[in-house]
């Protein structure tokens, strides 16, 4: 980003994008804002309710629980996927025929429709006919993700690790590939240990792509809906009911438009705020 010239005509270049995104973002967003202040009994009859839904929401135990579950889930998968992804990227070959094989096989889970991921893990983990379920029960551990909350929780986390660690691997690997060989040779001459090569050469070079990986994983795991919905349906009880699942239950299941809209906006604000915090913290030492 060196020395961009000022040119107001550049607006013409961004106009198509602005029109397309604004059409999809502003109109629905205003609809949600409208609903969030009103009560409806169907037939397009609306009553002004002010901040009632917001006050109810912020005091609602159900929302607090879903939010806590969501935060715990996101923190868990970030803590597993990021170090694991970096470790795998470090162990991958840099050149040779195996690079393509690794990349193609690892990218595969990323391109499976989300409901298929849920369905696949469902039949994989079922205690009676699933390979995983059989295996774990065979080891003498009592495991049934449809009834036992701990099993359900662990299965959901493992499914997400299976599904998304590859994204971290691909991005971290890209960062590693951009390091010139000369750096490694210099480190070798200096007699640097593997750890200090990682700490002072590889990690700084991966910083940018890792920021993108962490942000993408944070945002997407915070919006997770389809996979746990298909796998566990949010159960047993409410143990895997994350924010999006709860929101769809309120909006489309009970058709409570006002409360659902208020919840949508609060939810969106939380994602925005946390993304912003992540971004600022990770970019603070960048210096650019």
């Amino acid at each position: 980003m060196t020395a961009r010239t000022t040119n107001q005509k550049a607006w013409w270049l961004v106009a198509p994008v602005v029109v397309l995104v604004a059409f999809n973002a502003l109109v629905p967003m205003m609809t949600v804002v409208n609903y969030s202040f009103q009560e409806t009994f169907g037939d397009n009859v609306f009553f002004w309710e002010g901040f009632k839904w917001y006050e109810e929401l912020l005091r609602s135990e159900r929302f607090h629980d879903a939010l806590v579950r969501q935060l715990a889930f996101t923190a868990t998968i970030l803590a597993i996927e990021v170090p694991l992804g970096v470790a795998i990227a470090l162990a991958m070959p840099r050149r040779g025929p195996w690079v393509s094989v690794c990349l193609v096989l690892m990218a595969l889970p990323l391109l499976i429709p989300w409901n298929v991921v849920g369905a696949m893990w469902n039949i994989f983990a079922l205690p009676d006919i699933g390979l995983l379920g059989r295996l774990i029960n065979g080891l003498g551990v009592d495991y049934n993700f449809t009834q036992d909350p701990t099993s359900a929780w662990v299965t959901t986390v493992v499914m997400d690790v299976w599904h998304w660690t590859s994204l971290v691997v691909l991005l971290a690997y890209a960062g590693l590939c951009s390091i010139p060989d000369a750096y490694y040779q210099a480190a070798k001459i200096d007699g640097a240990s593997a750890w200090s090569v990682f700490r002072h050469i590889q990690l700084p070079k991966m910083k940018r792509v890792l920021t993108i990986a962490i942000l993408l994983r944070f945002m997407d795991s915070f919006m997770i809906y389809t996979e746990p919905f298909v796998l566990t349906g949010g159960g047993p009880g409410n143990t895997t009911t994350f924010l999006s699942i709860d929101l769809v239950k309120v909006a489309l299941g009970q058709f409570d438009l006002g409360p659902a809209a208020a919840m949508s906006l609060v939810y969106f604000m939380i994602v925005l705020l946390l993304s912003w915090v992540f971004y600022t913290v990770m970019m603070r030492n960048e210096g650019t």
Binding site: R4, N7, K9, A10, W11, L13, P16, V17, L20, V21, N24, A25, V27, P28, T31, V32, A87, I88, A91, M92, P93, V99, S100, L103, V104, L105, A107, L108, P109, L110, L111, I112, P113, W114, N115, V116, M120, I123, F124, L131, L132, R134, W162, L171, A174, C177, V209, I212, M219, F222, M223, S244, L247, V248, A251, L252, S264, L265, F268, V271
Partner: protein, 266 residues
């Protein structure tokens, strides 16, 4: 220790393949065999599940519908994002930073938030249950991502390239298509890959915006699961087939991805 390094990616790939193998295994079994017992491979090998999908139009049109809107979306997203990414990487203009951030915030919007208003919006303009509706709706998160990726690639191309071309008398469109685009093909490949990926795997919006004519395969699967009992073999076969287009796309862009990731700031 260095010798055992290959074990890490190998174990990881095995872990990735196990559930896929199980799905494949199920897809070659009859429903009776699946529910009747546990076996590591099909004992009564059958292709009936696949035969049903390829002959029953409610099944195979699902695939065609999904592919149609995914391709439309990828084309729209990348085409619209190209000039915008160029503007962000080369020019300073009123509100550029705010605009860029606003675009990214749309990537952060949970689809669950937009499901209901999208349904009302696209019904109101008469596009409900069309491929173009899903393709346009997916622009919400794909365009910001495409702009983000392409901007990174374009910024790594030195500005001197543009200046020389303008001195040589190229007009902007001619320069963009003939000189600039070929230098960032890897970036276009990576951006198209991600657009294809996120549009292909998304279900919540695609399901909300369609009912019959443009119903995606994923929705066909969930509806079958709930209406006609639990035909596990059929579902497994349908699931296996949804992996195929993705596998093709990865295979074709694999070199772009390795090279593209290395070149760009992605």
């Amino acid at each position: 220790m260095r010798r055992l390094k290959w074990l890490v990616p190998t174990l990881y790939v095995v872990f990735l393949m196990l559930p896929i193998y199980w799905l494949l295994n199920m897809s070659f079994k009859t429903t009776n065999e699946i529910l009747g017992g546990f076996s590591l491979w099909p004992t009564e090998f059958t292709l009936d599940n696949y035969r049903k999908i390829f002959t029953d139009s409610t099944w195979y049109t699902g695939y065609l519908n999904s592919l149609t809107y995914v391709v439309i979306n990828t084309v729209i997203s990348v085409t619209a994002a190209l000039p915008a990414a160029y503007a962000f990487s080369r020019y300073r203009f009123l509100g550029d930073k705010h605009l860029f951030f606003w675009l990214l915030t749309n990537r952060m919007a949970p689809p669950a938030v937009f499901a209901l208003p999208f349904f009302q919006l696209y019904s109101a303009i008469g596009l409900f249950d069309t491929h173009i509706a899903v393709a346009l709706a997916h622009c919400l998160f794909n365009i910001p991502l495409a702009v983000w990726i392409l901007e990174g690639f374009m910024s790594s191309v030195p500005k001197e390239l543009d200046e020389t071309a303008y001195v040589d008398g190229y007009s902007f469109p001619k320069f963009f298509v003939k000189i600039f685009l070929p230098t960032i093909t890897a970036g276009v490949g990576v951006a198209a890959f991600f657009c294809f990926m996120f549009s292909w795997v998304e279900l919540l919006l695609a399901k909300t915006l369609t009912s019959v004519d443009a119903k995606p395969i994923a929705a066909t699967m969930t509806r079958t699961a709930s209406t006609s009992g639990y035909e596990l073999g059929l579902l497994a076969a349908a699931g296996t087939l949804t992996i195929v287009p993705g596998a093709f796309v990865i295979y074709f862009v694999r070199n772009y991805i390795a090279k593209g990731f290395a070149l760009g700031r992605v």
